[in-house]
């Protein structure tokens, strides 16, 4: 099928369950090639803590298969989803977006879990990189190149991932208090020897800004010890700390499932990444204060996460926030924005990266006819339109 499309220079869009096609830069309407039927576990090497899957496997099926062996992939549910297959999407989609949540604090990102990849190039040729072992430097790292490529370079067909045993003991701790005190607590915690599973700035319109810490361990005693130390530190900073059970191993989703077909939606979803010590400056900025009724969920040790709202906010407000984030040394991506009026210009999903010429050169090599996901190239604000 891909070869035929290539022969006629026809555009097309790689897809999984199609749950997040509306995220990121707007796509030029083109046929989707969905891998939803390619959804099997190819090999779960339980003792080696690796799993090879077809990219169309749903995340929920992946986590369920792993859970049977008391293992898991330490990546948060994508924003706007939970354990329901319909909203969580596929493993291939997760990799194509390359976005993670609070679990990044301990487990790093999606890119760090991939040890092998199978792909179908725009000309229909199948290729592989990496392998099935956790340590491997043979050949170029196409796993990382494809992770976060948003369907712009190739169709991801297979993935081999490193997985982990589930740690049996865990707990959550929620902290509330003044922003200065929260930041002082956060800075002390991330510079300490404590080994948290997650650490998130959280805010929703009904609740003031706070921090959620998650702890997981092989031992209840180790969890209790960390909770005690975190609470003691909170007390010295005048913060209120509250323990919560954590059924886990995945943290509860921060956002309710959304309906991508709701055309009247005022929905905004922004992805923010900045030096973690600058989060306080961001939250206290005039631009963020203007969006106080938004939801915020940022990994406090890593500096990346989501901000979203279904209330009316203007593009000017979001653009101002983007400028503030950039001034603080960060980047802001617009993943969802309200449907624009004909006279209104949408915000670019991504700003131009310093390496834009190189990004475009890679695109030309992998997709010389510019067939894949037209209109979308991460690191390029406005990909050159194709007639």
């Amino acid at each position: 099928m891909v070869r035929e499309l290539h022969a006629t220079s026809s555009p097309w869009i790689p897809s999984g369950l199609g749950t997040r096609m509306h995220w990121g830069a707007a796509l030029q309407p083109s046929p989707l090639i969905s891998l939803r039927q390619c959804n099997t576990v190819l090999e779960h090497a339980v003792d080696d803590l690796t799993i090879s899957v077809q990219a169309g496997l749903s995340l929920t099926d992946l986590q369920a298969a792993l859970a049977e062996q008391n293992q898991w992939l330490p990546i948060d549910w994508p924003w706007g989803s939970h354990h329901q297959a319909k909203t969580a999407g596929t493993v291939g989609g997760l990799v194509a977006r390359g976005l993670t949540g609070g679990l990044r604090h301990r487990h790093l990102g999606v890119r760090d879990q991939i040890i092998g990849i199978g792909l179908i190039r725009s000309d229909g040729l199948e290729a592989h990189a990496g392998g099935r072992v956790v340590k491997n430097v043979a050949g170029y790292d196409l796993m990382r190149l494809l992770c976060g490529s948003w369907g712009s370079l190739a169709l991801i067909s297979e993935l081999t991932l490193r997985v982990q045993p589930i740690r049996p003991a865990r707990a959550l701790l929620n902290l509330k208090g003044a922003l200065d005190a929260l930041e002082a607590w956060r800075a002390e915690v991330v510079a300490s020897t404590l080994t948290l599973e997650l650490l998130n700035w959280q805010q929703d319109p009904k609740q003031e800004l706070g921090i959620q810490a998650g702890i997981a361990s092989v031992s209840d005693a180790a969890v209790r010890d960390q909770l005690n130390r975190l609470e003691s530190l909170a007390e010295t900073h005048g913060l209120k700390a509250e323990r919560h059970p954590w059924d886990g191993p995945l943290p509860p989703p921060a956002a309710r499932p959304t309906n991508p077909d709701d055309e009247d939606s005022q929905q905004w979803l922004l992805r923010i990444s900045l030096p973690p010590s600058q989060a306080q400056a961001l939250f206290s900025s005039q631009e963020a204060q203007a969006l106080r009724d938004w939801h915020w969920n940022l990994a406090a040790g890593a500096g990346c996460g989501d901000a979203w709202s279904d209330q009316a906010s203007t593009r000017a407000q979001v653009q101002a926030l983007r400028s503030r984030v950039t001034a603080l040394g960060g980047r802001l991506s617009v993943l969802i924005q309200p449907i624009s009026q004909p006279s209104e210009e949408t915000l670019p999903a991504w700003t131009d990266a310093p390496s834009r010429p190189l990004i475009e050169a890679v695109k030309r090599q992998f997709d010389p006819l510019q067939q894949l996901s037209r209109g979308r190239l991460p690191g390029v604000a406005k990909p050159v339109p194709i007639a």
């Binding site: 080696d48 199948e126 170029y140 790292d141 990382r144 190149l145 190189l358 090599q365």
Partner: protein, 493 residues
Amino acid sequence: MHEANLGPLTHDWAALDRDLSRILPSDALVRKRQELLAYDCDGLTIDRHQPPLAVLPRTTDQVAATLRCCRDHGVPFVARGSGTGLSGGAVTEQEALLVVTSRMRQILALDLPNQTITVQPGVINSWVTRAVAGEGFYYAPDPSSQVVCSIGGNVAENSGGVHCLKYGVTSNHVLGMEVVLPDGSVTHLGADLVECPELDLRGAFIGSEGTLGIATAITLRLLRAPERVSVLLADFPTMEAAGEAVRLVTAAGVLPAGMEIMDNFMINAVNDLFGHDEYPRDAAAVLLVELDGQAAEVAVAADRAAQLCRDAGARGVRRADEAADRALLWKGRKSAFAAVGQISSTYYVQDGVVPRSSLPQVLSAIEDLSRDHGLPVANVFHAGDGNLHPLILYSRDEPGVDARVKELGAAILRECLAVGGSITGEHGVGADKRCYLDWMFSPDDLATMRRLRLAFDPEGLANPGKIFPTPTSCAEASRKVVTLPADPSVVAF
């Protein structure tokens, strides 16, 4: 001047030299044959190729000007850090300018609140930790050559180390890079953030073995030094039992910082070096397990790991919690190469990877291969991630031994691939293994990888001939009788 053991030179080196002299200080050019000898090989001393000319820039601007000069003259270049690599990657096999980063040794920025440090590529790996240890931080990737090897070289090879089992390899710790591309232009890959909304060319560049350009400023992630470290040393009557211990510890969710195994040959070599029996001479294997992290968790994890070792059949388990005691348990592992050097002045280090669960099977196969080839093999390896380092011992005086060593090394890699492994876990492909890369990848796989290369380096100027097999190079390699003089002073894995 401009002599090299490369045969007749085809480029106008005098013209290149003249132009480079205009843009670089006079002491940044190395022309004398006796001085260029220092660069004729890296840690793998199989082949020696003296470069026609070498430059030692100090700044990004100088690197960029140098590469523009190379482009203008159509002369390829090879980047070199400390020269400790073990795959012949930093050697000018073909007629090329050698760009040595060893004078680029500045720490450019330190941002402790965000736990990052930005360094020039010639900064030595262990210097990074030394720069921040006083504040309680460290840089995690720790190749055994860390007191000598450079961060730029680590980026080129995607270096690992003993502790990469838990903390990952170089690619997990680089947040951004300033890179000079082969056409001499300067760009930035990544945004010095953990997540960057652009194609991950930073990730693609790391481990590209100098074939995509030269990193001139590298921002690294720093980690907080752990609160507690414990080391276990267990000895086993069979290699299978040691492998089972690795499996049990891993499956239990006790993620050690590192797990290392030495086989009976190596145990006895180390005992002989020490002059006393540090380890039981009849043990088939000793397993070192290092656990680190929060004190309460390490205490529980160490107890559990010790019990799992006993469950797997360990005859004895020693444990060390204090620094001096831990160093004692590690001493044998760290002395392994020196111990082998006492037995044989020449040896060849292989670097294959197998799934953890296949370790006993593959080690048994290596034993058979060793017997069949009539060459002793000592094993010391990163058991936690299945990264084998068989050391093939030989006497260079024995006629025809070089070919047998090479054959045995290749046969070991075939065993690794037969169980789904890799031909290299951390040493890279370079020149040494390029003719094995197509054992692992199809022509379509390799053609796809080459597309990345074409985007970065359409003229093929950066480290030409490395990584990818070519009919010419591999036909030559199969005919060549090589000498493999190992240098026991180079311990780089």
